[in-house]
């Protein structure tokens, strides 16, 4: 799940990147509005974590501009100014959620998951396909009630596929899902992760659509 973190404090920004990655997200971090605009033009994010007081302007204004441009990405505002009138201002500007600093990393992750789930129109965060259940909150995957330990990247690939069963995801699309742009991508990384994933979860779940990419479910070619 790719999220964009817009935060100018270097230590907090680093913490958010590392923490969200640990929680199963693929975060990109930027320090100002100009960089955020560039990043959002370049890639699609499932959610944005936005600070309000940024060196080149107010996050609230940035959010309002995005909403005017019909951007529906879920925004979570993260700010020191978290009194009720300020929360109202932020929510009215188009924020989907609001979290005051300092916050709990787990709560931030849970709220982000909720935002993404709501945006996708699902009622629960757990994804189910046949007898496979994937819970993004606990990063747990089970098949027929039996827990299957996965690495973070394997988990991310499985989730991306389970979010849209039957849809073919291309290799570059999966790469983008599992790597933020700070991380280097090895050329055959996706193949390697899918290989491990198949060996752990059992065959017949992740299908290769030759020349296109991967998918879960759907008609066999």
């Amino acid at each position: 799940m790719r999220v964009l973190v817009v935060e100018d404090d270097p230590i907090l920004s680093d913490g958010l990147s590392v923490g969200l990655r640990m929680a199963g997200f693929s975060p990109d971090a930027v320090g100002c509005i100009a960089d955020a605009e560039t990043a959002m033009r370049a890639s699609a994010y499932e959610a944005v974590v936005l600070d309000v007081m940024l060196p080149d302007g107010s996050g609230i204004d940035f959010l309002a501009t995005r909403r005017q441009a019909n951007d529906r990405t879920p925004f979570l505002i993260l700010t020191a100014r978290d009194r009720i009138p300020e929360r109202i201002e932020g929510l009215d500007a188009g924020a989907d959620d609001y979290l005051g600093k300092p916050f709990d990393l787990d709560e931030l992750a849970a709220r982000l998951r909720a935002l993404v789930r709501r945006n996708a129109g699902r009622a629960t965060s757990a994804l189910t396909w046949n007898d496979i259940v994937l819970d993004p909150a606990t990063l747990a995957v089970s098949r027929a009630g039996k827990e299957i330990p996965l690495t973070r990247r394997e988990f991310t690939i499985l989730r991306a596929l389970m979010e849209r069963p039957g849809t073919v995801l291309t290799k570059p699309a999966l790469e983008e899902t599992i790597y933020g742009w700070q991380e280097g991508v090895e050329s055959n990384a996706v193949e390697v992760h899918v290989h491990h994933l198949r060996s752990k979860i059992g065959h017949g779940v992740v299908q290769t659509v030759r020349g296109l990419g991967y998918r879960i479910g759907g008609e066999l070619p």
Binding site: D8, D9, P10, I11, L12, S13, D14, G15, L16, V18, G19, M22, G31, C32, A34, D51, M53, P55, D56, L78, A80, R81, G100, K101, P102, F103, D104, L105, D106
Partner: protein, 450 residues
């Protein structure tokens, strides 16, 4: 005396008392003189009447003296005076011809006509003597002074008693008036006393007596200043709290990562981040304290003569070792003297040096030097960082202004603190880009002069 009311009461009572006393004295003296004159006139009339009656033979000579006590002649004004007049008729040879009942047998006066005072049988008499040449007698009419004094005393008492009775009543009226007169003060005191601590509204002046206006206006002025100071403090506290929330959020996040991650590298990195986060937060706290100190100061600081080099040395000494080793102080201007306030200059120089260190590459030095220009002394802090974009130069001393391209984002307070501190010591802060790169911050101080 501390009570205004008591003082006013005392003044009013004393002056009223003094006026009363002099009025009473004046009434006493004039009444006494008046009564004496009236009584003397009666003595004379009575003596002349008796004399003329003797001449006209309207009464027998032997009983003539009793005529003075006749009712139609003596006004019966009061019982005690009824028998007051005493009359003696003496022959020219010195024999007592006649005397009224109240008169003593001893001769009342000498041969001289007119008023006289004599003492007869131990009592004092006021006597008027008329010589009647036709009948060869002397008519003497006298007042017993004992009785006359009693009369005077009665008259005095009749006048002074009501006045004396009025005295406590007057005091009461004065006390009451003073109370009433001072009521606005009490009203104001109770109005202010009933206020709660946060109510710094000005006291309404419309209904107040004009005498109290100066006090109320002064008080309202104070209220206003206190309210402004309080507002400043509240704004500052809220600002400080907000500024601290972000670094705290960073620390908390990193701590959670260190706890949750099983990866030793991730943990080590999180702990390193916590370390530098604490450093940054400490610096922010110090800057906030600097800001509070600058804002709280109402009065212009006292500028003292001193060596700026000493301040620079002290600032550098207090830096962490790693940063200290990057500072180079040029010694040539170390003897220069200027006028400044040490704490404020220190604040300015420290923020400039920290700023220079944070914005220049780790392997580059920050040069601090002093130079004299005309009557002024310059403290220069020069770094070899990227410099400040020309468009941002006018804004860098604004509070919270943070450049866009900075890797090491600060609080946006350092330069603003430096400028405000320099301004308070009547100096000037100038920032300019160096060629080819870097920033030169110049603090212009007033020379020591003579």
């Amino acid at each position: 005396m501390n009570s205004m009311r008591a003082r006013l009461l005392m003044i009013l009572l004393l002056t009223t008392g003094a006026v009363w006393a002099s009025a009473a004295t004046w009434i006493y003296i004039s009444t006494q003189a008046q009564v004496e004159r009236v009584l003397d006139a009666r003595l004379r009339e009575a003596a002349r009447m008796v004399s003329s009656m003797v001449t006209d033979e309207r009464v027998h000579l032997a009983s003539a003296a009793d005529a003075v006590s006749l009712p139609d002649f003596v006004p019966r004004s009061g019982n005690s005076y009824q028998r007051q007049l005493s009359c003696q008729i003496w022959s020219m040879e010195g024999a007592l011809v006649s005397r009224s009942d109240s008169a003593p047998e001893t001769r009342l006066a000498g041969d001289a006509d007119g008023f006289s005072i004599s003492e007869v049988d131990g009592e004092e008499w006021r006597v008027f003597t008329v010589a009647n040449a036709e009948r060869d007698v002397r008519v003497m009419v006298g007042d017993n002074m004992h009785i006359r004094n009693a009369l005077v005393r009665d008259v005095m008492l009749g006048t002074l008693l009501p006045m004396t009775l009025f005295l406590p009543l007057g005091a009461l009226v004065i006390w009451f008036s003073v109370r009433r007169g001072m009521a606005p003060l009490d009203d104001m005191a109770s109005t202010i006393a009933s206020r709660h601590g946060g109510d710094l509204q000005p006291v309404k002046v419309e209904k107040m007596p004009s005498e109290m206006l100066p006090v109320i206006c002064a008080m309202n002025g104070l209220f206003q200043r206190v309210a402004a100071a309080r507002q400043r403090e509240t704004a500052f506290t809220s600002f400080a709290a907000h500024e601290l929330k972000t670094p705290l959020a960073g620390l908390k996040t990193q701590a959670q990562i260190a706890l949750a991650s099983g990866d030793a590298d991730v943990q080590a990195n999180a702990l390193r981040q916590i370390g530098s986060g604490v450093d940054r937060t400490s610096r922010l706290v110090r800057q906030l304290l600097d800001l509070a100190a600058i804002e709280a100061a109402d009065q212009a600081p006292e500028l003292l003569r001193g060596r700026p080099a000493q301040v620079v040395e002290q600032v550098v000494e207090e830096l962490p070792t790693k940063e200290r080793s990057r500072i180079r102080i040029e010694q040539s201007g170390s003897e220069l003297e200027a006028r400044f306030e040490p704490a404020l200059l220190q604040m300015a120089v420290r923020n400039l040096i920290e700023n220079a260190i944070r914005h220049s590459p780790d392997d580059r030095e920050v040069l601090v030097r002093l130079a004299a220009t005309g009557n002024e002394v310059e403290v220069l802090v020069e770094d070899e960082g990227p410099g400040i974009p020309e468009s941002e130069l006018p804004h860098v001393t604004e509070r919270f202004f943070r450049g866009r391209d900075r890797a090491a984002a600060g609080s946006g307070l350092g330069l603003s603190i430096a400028e405000e501190a320099v301004m308070r010591i009547e100096g000037v802060l100038r920032l300019r880009n160096r060629d080819p790169h870097g920033v030169s911050a110049v603090v212009l101080l007033q020379g020591a002069g003579d």
